[in-house]
Structures are given as structure tokens and as C-alpha cells.
Symmetry: C2
């Protein structure tokens, strides 16, 4: 008998009808002979509606109260799913994050899971019950206050529970039936992948793929929890994310997909002294302000004045804070200029096969050249190549690379309406 953890996103639970459909799937999984633990996000737009109400009573609400408010959403979906399952005559019990033993740090709105002690959930499963656990929420280990896990929190709840309970598989349900070789809205012949290793999925998530949140993949990799990305609207087996990069035989290593990301901006610092410690000043200032930088490029210094240029990318959301900070630093340090630019896009090619195919970078750059697209920055990792291009060329760049590496399939991609949380 296998233990399956299933996580359903908000789009899978947006109405009473959808909840009944999800309940049927849960009951079918149980009747197929599995133990089942389910993690639910809030229904459809519930979270947005609660955020809207909060904004109306206080533009800067206390984080603790915001967590108390938002966790109500998962309690609602959770109990409704439990009721729907119960209507099939199956034993079922719902649990809040606290009841499921999801212990977190105290940071409201973005808490980290410290430990999962799912004793009550395990007891319920042992008694033959289906357990329904509210996602996205936990409890501060010290104060017993309710916390939330931030973006992708329900995925993280599911993976953490699966790890703590030694589940055989953690199924992540949304309205997309798997991980694709590219975003099908951008690349029409994108093909669904049957299997990816954790490292490939991590690189995809870090490069702009929205299907799984980076943090939950990191958690799954750390505890070796096989993930299966599936759609709650179909019976497709989805995409299995499991196994380590080093365990993939060379002859099976392929290129997995193309990811795009238009959520970053670029800052260039011009005329900064090319001496030890100067670049560190820049990145220390950004780190102290909790601004995450992504790609970094430092030019060769010009011989005459021993000055150089540093360019890096950062989330658009942090752009104005970043530029404000560095402009102040520029005045103090005497750098020539600080330039901010939002109109960029990142295109990445990811795949374990890159390790054993040395010509990939050459093919990648040629594909962009042939499409007439200029590369502004380029970085590589063991299994990823990323280029920054003009945002207007991002979709074309993705298509060019996808075609160059022959990633497309014959069957058209299946795309459903809406997006999961």
C-alpha cells in the first residue's frame, strides 16, 4: 500500500462543482488501495478577496493579523473538501496547519517550516481515514501564533508533509497537465515532459517556469520526495520530478526545455574602480536591503583609468529601491553613473544532456543570431544556459531555441484556462 500526498491548487477548487470533482479523484485514489493525505490551497479568488478587504480597512495591516485573515481561506477549502469526500461514505478528517504539526519560524507572511510533527495525521491515516490538511499555514513553534508560508506555501506544505510521513509520491495538481518543454502560450509546439530530475526542475523554476515554486522543489530534493505535476482536469499521468542529476545515464541525458522570465530588470554601474572590494560594496548594500540579484556581468576594465562597469539583474519589484540605494552610493563613491533598464527578458535552456554535449552553447548563441536577436548578457551553469535579451524579443528567442534543439512535439499542447497558486 502506497502513501500518496495530493496537493490541489486554488484553480482546482474554485467552485463547489470543482470541489466535488476533486473529492471523486481523492476517493478513487483511496479505493485504488492507497493511503491518501490531501493538502488544499484556498478556493479560487478567496485570497485576493481577503487581501482586498484588508486593504480597505488598513493599507498597512499588521503581518500577524494578515496571517490570521489569510489562513481562513485554506480552512474553508479544507473543510469543504473533507465534506465532499465524506459524501462518498469514506472516513475523512481535516486538519489545520497547527493540528498537522507544521511548526514554523515566527516571520509572519513568509515563515519557514522548521519541523513537521504529523502525529495526528498519521493516526488518522492509520485508522483508514483520508486526511485533509490546510496548506500555506503553520504555527509559530514558540508563540503558537498562526503563520503563513508565503508564495507557493501550499506546495511546500505538501512536500514537507510527504517528507515527514515518508510518502511514496507527492502529486501537485493544478490546471496544467505537466511540465512542458516551454510555455505553450509562447511556443505552440511545446511538448509535455514525462520525467525530469530535481536539478533540472530547480533550474527551470529558477529560470521563470511558474509550474512549481523553487522552494518546494528544493525541499523535495533535500528529502528525496518524488513529485508528480498533474492536472485536476484530466487523467494524464503528468510529469514526474524525481532522481538526481548524477544518476542519469549519459545516453539518457537530454535537453529538457526552454524557460522565459520577464520579471527582472537590469542595473548597470558605469565607471567603478576596478580594485578589490569595490564590487563588494555594491552587493553588500543590496544584500543588506534584502534585494536578491540574479545574473552579474563585470566588464574588462579600460586600461587608461582602471575603471570598469558592473551590470546585474534583479526583480523588477525591487528595482526602484535598488536604484535609489545605488544612486546614493554613487554620489558617495564617485562612480560615473548608475543606469536602470526594465525592458529585458531572460531566456534559458535547461537539461541534463548539456553536460555531455559541449556544442550546446554554440548552438544556443547561433539560434539567437539567426533570429536576429542580440544577447545582452549570458551565463551558464552545469545544466543551464541563460541569455538576457530585449523583452520584445523574448518570445521569438524562446521559439528559436526550442526549434534549434528540436524540443517540439507532434501533438499540440493541452492548455487549460486559469493558473494555479
Amino acid at each position: 500500500m502506497a502513501l500518496i500526498v495530493q496537493k490541489y491548487g486554488g484553480s482546482s477548487l474554485e467552485s463547489a462543482e470543482r470541489i466535488r470533482a476533486v473529492a471523486e479523484r481523492i476517493v478513487a485514489t483511496k479505493k485504488a488501495g492507497n493511503d491518501v493525505v490531501v493538502v488544499c490551497s484556498a478556493m479560487g479568488d478567496t485570497t485576493d478577496e481577503l487581501l482586498d478587504l484588508a486593504a480597505q480597512v488598513n493599507p498597512t495591516p499588521p503581518a500577524r493579523e494578515m496571517d490570521m485573515l489569510l489562513t481562513a481561506g485554506e480552512r474553508i477549502s479544507n473543510s469543504l473538501v473533507a465534506m465532499a469526500v465524506a459524501s462518498h461514505g469514506v472516513d475523512v478528517q481535516s486538519f489545520t496547519g497547527s493540528q498537522a504539526g507544521v511548526l514554523t519560524t515566527e516571520r509572519h507572511g513568509n515563515a519557514r517550516i522548521i519541523e513537521v510533527t504529523p502525529g495526528r495525521v498519521e493516526d488518522a491515516v492509520q485508522e483508514g481515514k483520508i486526511a485533509i490538511v490546510a496548506g500555506f499555514q503553520g504555527v509559530n513553534r514558540d508563540t503558537r501564533d498562526v503563520t503563513t508560508l508565503g508564495r507557493g506555501g501550499s506546495d511546500t506544505t505538501a512536500v514537507a508533509l510527504a517528507a515527514a510521513m515518508g510518502a511514496d509520491e507527492c502529486e501537485i495538481y493544478s490546471d496544467v497537465d505537466g511540465v512542458y518543454t516551454a510555455d505553450p502560450r509562447i511556443v505552440p509546439d511545446a511538448r509535455k515532459l514525462d520525467h525530469l530530475c530535481f536539478e533540472e526542475m530547480l533550474e527551470l523554476a529558477a529560470s521563470g517556469s511558474k509550474i512549481l515554486v523553487l522552494r518546494s522543489v528544493e525541499y523535495a530534493r533535500a528529502f528525496n520526495v518524488p513529485l508528480r505535476v498533474r492536472s485536476s482536469y484530466s487523467n494524464d499521468t503528468g510529469t514526474l520530478v524525481a532522481g538526481a542529476l548524477e544518476d542519469i545515464p549519459v545516453e539518457e541525458a537530454v535537453l529538457s526545455g526552454v524557460a522565459t522570465d520577464n520579471s527582472e530588470a537590469k542595473i548597470s554601474i558605469l565607471g567603478i574602480p576596478d580594485t578589490p572590494g569595490e564590487a563588494a560594496k555594491v552587493f553588500r548594500a543590496l544584500a543588506d536591503a534584502e534585494i536578491n540579484i540574479d545574473m552579474v556581468l563585470q566588464n574588462i576594465s579600460s586600461a587608461e583609468d582602471n575603471k570598469t562597469d558592473i551590470t546585474f539583474t534583479l526583480p523588477v519589484a525591487d528595482g526602484s529601491r535598488g536604484i535609489e540605494l545605488l544612486s546614493a552610493l554613487r554620489n558617495k563613491e564617485g562612480w560615473d553613473d548608475v543606469v536602470y533598464h526594465e525592458g529585458i527578458g531572460k531566456v534559458s535552456l535547461i537539461g541534463a544532456g548539456m553536460k555531455s554535449h559541449p556544442g550546446v552553447t554554440a548552438d544556443f548563441t547561433e539560434a539567437l543570431r539567426d533570429a536576429g536577436i542580440n544577447i545582452e548578457m549570458i551565463t551558464t551553469s552545469e545544466i543551464r544556459i541563460t541569455a538576457v535579451v530585449d523583452a520584445n524579443n523574448l518570445a521569438e528567442a524562446a521559439r528559436a531555441i526550442h526549434t534549434k534543439f528540436d524540443l517540439g512535439g507532434d501533438e499540440p499542447a493541452v492548455v487549460y484556462a486559469g493558473t494555479g497558486r
Copy 2:
């Protein structure tokens, strides 16, 4: 410095705008030099919306899951009120029923409070914070499962907290600015009362007045918590419910008001042997089925066959179960007939003054006679007279009694839209 517990009903919290208004009142109470603990019901129609969703996924949802679902409503209003209070720069903290130490029996949907251990709430108040507590909910002392307190549960939460914390007053806010001498929708010249003793309020609540739930008044009386019924839409001081009947000086004892109730039905058992134990069979059967009966009338037996008739009232909601039960018993016992009748209404006159005015019952019956209304049943207590009349005559009966005892005021009653929970 006084400690005030304020309870706000759903109609007082039906929108972000109303929540902001409530927050202003809370902050003003604090700034006037009081310690303040607030208990909130769910916003406006939230509970009905959740019940509707539940019915769509399971017509007979498990009670435990229903409690998990419904308590989300109070968590939402609770955290929003806390946010709105925080926007005034005042220290505030919200608490779930569990966090506030509301320990209950295990009966989901209608749990009883066993004990309130408000240590965390007291700590917050001691630190100068306003405490906001989710009403209607508690936690099963043994299993730590979330429970709800049934109808009027938020009032009960407020009174129980006030009792446990030794509050100076418990203010119950709704959209009505106090207790009236009659329902102003039925009796236009109904007058707001400034003061009632606990026993009078108990009799009013038991006789159909909806303003306070019987259970919360019983709790307030048992722990001697002064209640103040007020409107969140006005600054009227409302009605104070406090003090014991025996402490009212005879010269101050007056008649308080008229209550009406059309939620009961009548069952008559005809031709039942007038021997010891026969009536007991009827009431034991009803009690075993958890059907509460209200008024009981047993006729004098007819001489020839030593048989009698028994008539009693019970909630309309229990009517079909009651009649089914007694019809089965009739076949077994050989009673002549069991007759069910829904079209009845109860009109009651209540007041401490009744004790010292022996002519009240005579005046009461004359008022109905003069209005041409037939009395089907009549019962009295120390401070109450109740008559059962035809439902079609109920409003007219209330007006006749109200006028006869000169309970009306010169100023028109203030009636607001909606009703509180």
C-alpha cells in the same frame, strides 16, 4: 480603569466601511480610559454563504467539518477588525477561540463552554493592548478540535470572557439600540427600556424576544455580568441588563414589555386515561427524542370514562418528529386522537411589577377579550403571563396588551435595517 467587553454582531460588521466604524468606537472606548476586549461575530452574510457552499458539496456534512468551516467566518472578521483598530496606531492583537482559552464540550455545532482560561488575553490587556477575540468558537478540551457554540454563540463568548476576566460591563452591539417594550415592527409606539433585571430579560428571551439569546443571559445572571444592549449605529446608551429581581424595591418594580413568538406549534392528545403515569409516557417519549416542550395544559377529565386531553406547545421545527412519535404511541396506548396545529402565536407580558400588582392577569385577559381575541392556553410565572392565541391575531394581541398597560412612549421607536446574529 474599567474593563469593558464589547461584542459586535454580524450586521455591525457587514462591510469594510462598517468595520472601520466599529474600530473607531473600540478605539474611542480605549482612549476614554478603559481596558477593552472585543468579541466579533462573522461579517454579515458570511455564515449563510458558507452554509450554502457546504450544502452544495454534501447535504449532510460531518459536524466536525462544519465547525472547521464556520469558524473561518469569525477569524476573518476578527483579523479585519484588528487591522482596522491598528490603523489608528493603537496596539491590538486578535485571538481565536482556542487562543483565548474558550474550552468546550465535544458536541460539534452546539458545544457548551466548560471553562474560559483567558491568560493570553489578560496578558495582552495588561500590556495595554486591545484584544479582539473570535466569537462563536471554542476548542474541545480533550481532543483540541475546533467547536462552535450554536445560536447566539458570540454573545455567549462575550459574556463568558467578561465573567472569566471580571469585566465591569459586557456591551452587546447590534443594529437595535436597546431592549424595547415590544417589537417596534409590531407595536409602533414601543419604547426603549433603560434598565431590566436579569430575570426580566430571561423571561423576555424565553418568550420570543430575539435581542439576546436565553443562554447568554443565563450565563450573565449566573456570573453577575452586567450586560448593555446597544446599537453600533448610534451613541445611545442602550439598555442595561443587571441586578436581581429580589433587589428591586417594590415601588420601582414596573411592567417591562410584551414579547411575541410565532415559532411554536401545538399538539393535543385527546382521550388519554386520566391515571398516574399516562402523561409521563408522553413527556418521557418527547424528552428521549430531545424535543423541548414549552407550555402544557391538561384538561379536567370527563366523569364517565375517566379520560382527559393533554395539549402542549413545541418548536415548529420539531413538529413533524413530535407528531410521528406520538402517533405511533397512540396506536400502542389506544388514545383517541393526536392533533397537530401550527397556526398559533404566543404573547407574553413580562415585568417585576407583576409580583406586587395582583390585578395584572385580570387586566391581561380583559385586554384580549376587548380586542375580540380568544385565548387558547394561558400560563403564568412570578413575573410573566403568556397566552396562546391564533397566529393571525398575534400582532393585534401584542398591541392590545401594550396599550392596556400603558407601556408606550411618546417618541417613535428607532428601527434600523437588518438583524444581528
